[in-house]
């Protein structure tokens, strides 16, 4: 993208015209049907060994595109972004087990059902329960996926258990395998496939389904021409057995609860859509919840900063005064942690360490990862501060008759502290921003809570605008406090 294009884009951002979904005529004219599928959802859709998306949804989408006489373009879409993508017209259809719910029907339209979704319980032999109602105990942790409608349903049916929210389908089963959670209440068909990754665990499925819901293909609200076409083709695909054959191909068995003929009648046309309208009230109502998250963000930053400073000081001393092997060790630590992403470091602490028998909570894994990462960067800052003290300065102090202790307290330390204070203060801000990574591991700090809110109210732009403002306020406040502390405590002049 050239500078000019970027400029045009920025101009467009200011006068954002509303892009509506594409009606059938536009799709036929462009020759391309854009379908959103979940990239991490085998056997529905996932990247195969050849790097291409494959699965039940992918085959259904391909058949639909074929029947409409257009090319298929697959767009990887995470659970939380399905509805916003449809509303904006980035995708024409959304697959990926989109359950038909009244809340969603207020925002998007659905085709006739594509498949059923029988809610059941996946757990291990460790948990001695026989019915799903037995799970309603505070000592049980249920794992669930952000953005799935089962999250809210579960809170009604099973209010007592603790919950752990993760971002991917594979992560739910991994959480149970690694002992972070006890059970998953979800569509058993979708998730059972992942249990094969953990053959050593004694997996169990509770027999009675809690309830059955139906998944349709999501279509932007008011895009009636496309919906009529999809309904027509989908009904034909149900009737000639294509859907059933594809389900058997990818799941190995028939659908637990099949789609009945009675369900195969198109819905009545919906009222026409208007474009995106900003609504702030549902986000503003959540301000206290977000503020609570901000405190957790600060907490993560404080702990990581304190631990990182301790590690950093030890590493800096080792690199300056240590024996040769110690210097090499400290140097290796610094270059490993400063040359790889903190995110991947935390991936390893959180996802890989449990294979070695060490299971850390999400909060602890993030804090540990950030501390180790901060330690490496702070070691460099502190080392620069320590070596910046000139020998002549120390010599002068000695000539003036200052003792060893006085030289340390009145010459060496003030010099070092004044040199490193400002870089340390800005690193603290970096850590406050970096703590947002915790959201990707299910820690409900500021960003995590913003993701939770936006997946429920679908007001992503509004939610993240407010979240950004909170971060801005938080870091401005922190900078002001740090500058004041610097001025009073160590007489660092403000920048």
């Amino acid at each position: 993208m050239s500078l000019r294009q970027l400029f045009l884009l920025l101009v467009a951002l200011c006068w954002a015209p509303v892009v509506a979904a594409r009606p059938l005529a536009d799709i036929t004219a462009s020759g391309e049907l854009r379908v959103g599928v979940n990239p991490n959802f085998p056997p529905m859709s996932s990247f195969g060994a050849d790097g291409q998306l494959q699965g039940f949804d992918v085959d259904v989408a391909r058949k639909l595109a074929e029947r409409l006489g257009v090319r298929l373009q697959l767009v990887p879409t995470e659970a939380a972004s399905r509805v916003p993508f449809l509303v904006s017209g980035r995708i024409d259809l959304s697959l990926g087990a989109l359950t038909i719910t009244p809340e969603r029907q207020a925002l998007i339209d659905f085709s006739v059902p594509l498949h059923s979704e029988a809610m059941g319980v996946i757990t291990t032999a460790k948990l001695p329960v026989t019915r799903w109602q037995d799970l309603d105990r505070p000592d049980i942790t249920l794992v669930n996926m952000r953005g799935n409608q089962s999250v809210t349903l579960l809170q009604e049916k099973l209010p007592k258990p603790q919950r752990l929210l993760v971002d991917g389908n594979a992560d739910t089963i991994r959480a149970i395998a690694q002992g972070r959670a006890d059970a998953l209440v979800e569509n058993v068909d979708f998730f059972l496939g992942f249990t094969k990754n953990y053959p050593e665990i004694d997996w169990r499925v509770l027999p009675d389904p809690i309830f059955t819901s139906w998944c349709g293909i999501g279509i932007a609200r008011g895009n009636d021409s496309l919906r009529a076409a999809i309904d027509r083709e989908l009904i034909a695909m149900h009737k000639d057995g294509t859907v059933d054959a594809l389900w058997r191909k990818h799941y190995g068995v028939a659908m637990t609860v099949p789609v009945t003929t009675a369900q195969l009648t198109p819905q009545i046309a919906s009222q026409t859509t208007t474009g995106y309208q900003f609504i702030w009230a549902p986000v503003l109502a959540q301000l206290p919840y977000l503020a609570g998250g901000a405190l957790i963000s600060l907490q993560i930053a404080f702990i990581a900063f304190a631990a990182g400073a301790a590690i950093g000081l030890a590493t800096a001393m080792a690199r300056i005064h240590g024996a040769p092997w110690l210097r090499r060790l400290a140097g290796g630590y610094v270059s490993f942690f400063t040359n790889t992403p903190a995110l991947v470091q935390i991936f390893i602490l959180y996802y890989a360490l449990p294979d070695a028998g060490v299971t850390l909570s999400a909060f602890f894994a993030v804090v540990l990862g950030l501390s180790l990462n901060a330690g490496a960067y702070l070691a460099e800052i502190l080392r620069a501060g320590i070596v910046s003290v000139r020998q002549t300065e120390l010599d002068a102090a000695e000539v003036l008759g200052l003792g060893r202790r006085d030289r340390m307290v009145h010459v060496l330390l003030p010099h070092i502290v004044r040199t490193v204070y400002r870089p340390l203060a800005s690193f603290f801000i970096v850590l406050v921003l970096g703590s947002s990574m915790a959201a990707l591991f299910g820690v409900e700090e500021l960003t995590g809570r913003a993701i939770n809110i936006s997946t429920a109210n679908l007001r992503t732009i509004e939610t993240f605008a407010i979240t950004g403002l909170i971060y801005l306020a938080l870091t401005l406040l922190a900078s002001a406090v740090l500058a004041m502390l610097g001025k009073w405590l160590v007489r660092v002049r403000p920048a």
Partner: protein
């Protein structure tokens, strides 16, 4: 664990895996180079604007200062999500990689503007006054006096920033951009051992970042030596 590693070795060390990781590496590089390159250009514009003394430009200077402060104080992850959903309304055809690159440009331009401005301010005030007295035009003052002297102060931290950003692009994995970090996660979800999945990704990041970091350090010492003359 060793058994599992050995058993998976033939499946992992294939051309397909190499191509998959290579593509991911390319996306990481694309976001860093294009994002930081454009960010540098925009950052330069912002810094020149903030360095100007024209009273008429005061409101723009305020805007630029606000922009720089804002994007340096919001987490990259939050900016990524915000851009993802804001861009939907204008350019629904833009790829996820393009969206992530726009987010990189926004953040990089703010940080680099600050680095460039600090470079400009390192030129002593008497020199600016001297140039003005000599009758140089504002453009000549910038082009002949300020820029040649501030390059040396700007380049090392700017290079260090870009090296740092190689690693920050890992967060784009959350959008679904199949860059290095996401590639590692996909490999692990495909049931490869994390030693392979994350290990190979860590090695690639290191191979990318370490030489670049070294180059930035070399630049710093080289420019610092010549500065002392």
């Amino acid at each position: 664990m060793i058994d599992r590693l050995l058993a998976q070795a033939p499946a992992f060390f294939t051309l397909e895996t190499a191509a998959f990781l290579g593509l991911a590496l390319g996306r990481t590089l694309f976001m860093t180079i294009i994002g930081c390159g454009l960010g540098f250009a925009i950052g330069m514009l912002l810094a020149v604007l903030r360095n100007s003394r024209l009273p008429a430009l005061a409101p723009l200077r305020w805007l630029a200062a606000g922009y720089v402060e804002t994007f340096r104080r919001i987490p990259f992850l939050v900016i990524l999500i915000f851009v993802l959903f804001s861009v939907q309304a204008i350019a629904p055809d833009l790829s996820l990689l393009g969206i992530a690159t726009i987010a990189v440009v926004l953040v990089a331009s703010a940080y680099l503007a600050e680095i460039i401005r600090a470079g400009f301010e390192s030129v002593p005030q008497p020199q600016r006054e001297g140039a003005e007295v000599l009758g140089l035009s504002p453009f000549q003052r910038f082009h002949l006096v300020i820029l040649p002297q501030s390059w040396r102060v700007i380049l090392p931290p700017a290079a260090a920033f870009m090296v740092m950003f190689v690693k920050d692009t890992a967060l784009a994995s959350h959008l679904g951009v199949v860059e290095l970090a996401f590639a590692g996660k996909i490999l692990v979800n495909r049931n490869f051992s994390p030693v392979y999945g994350y290990g190979s990704v860590l090695i690639l990041y290191f191979l990318l970042s370490w030489p670049l970091g070294r180059a930035a350090q070399w630049l710093e010492t080289r420019l610092a030596v010549s500065r002392r003359r």
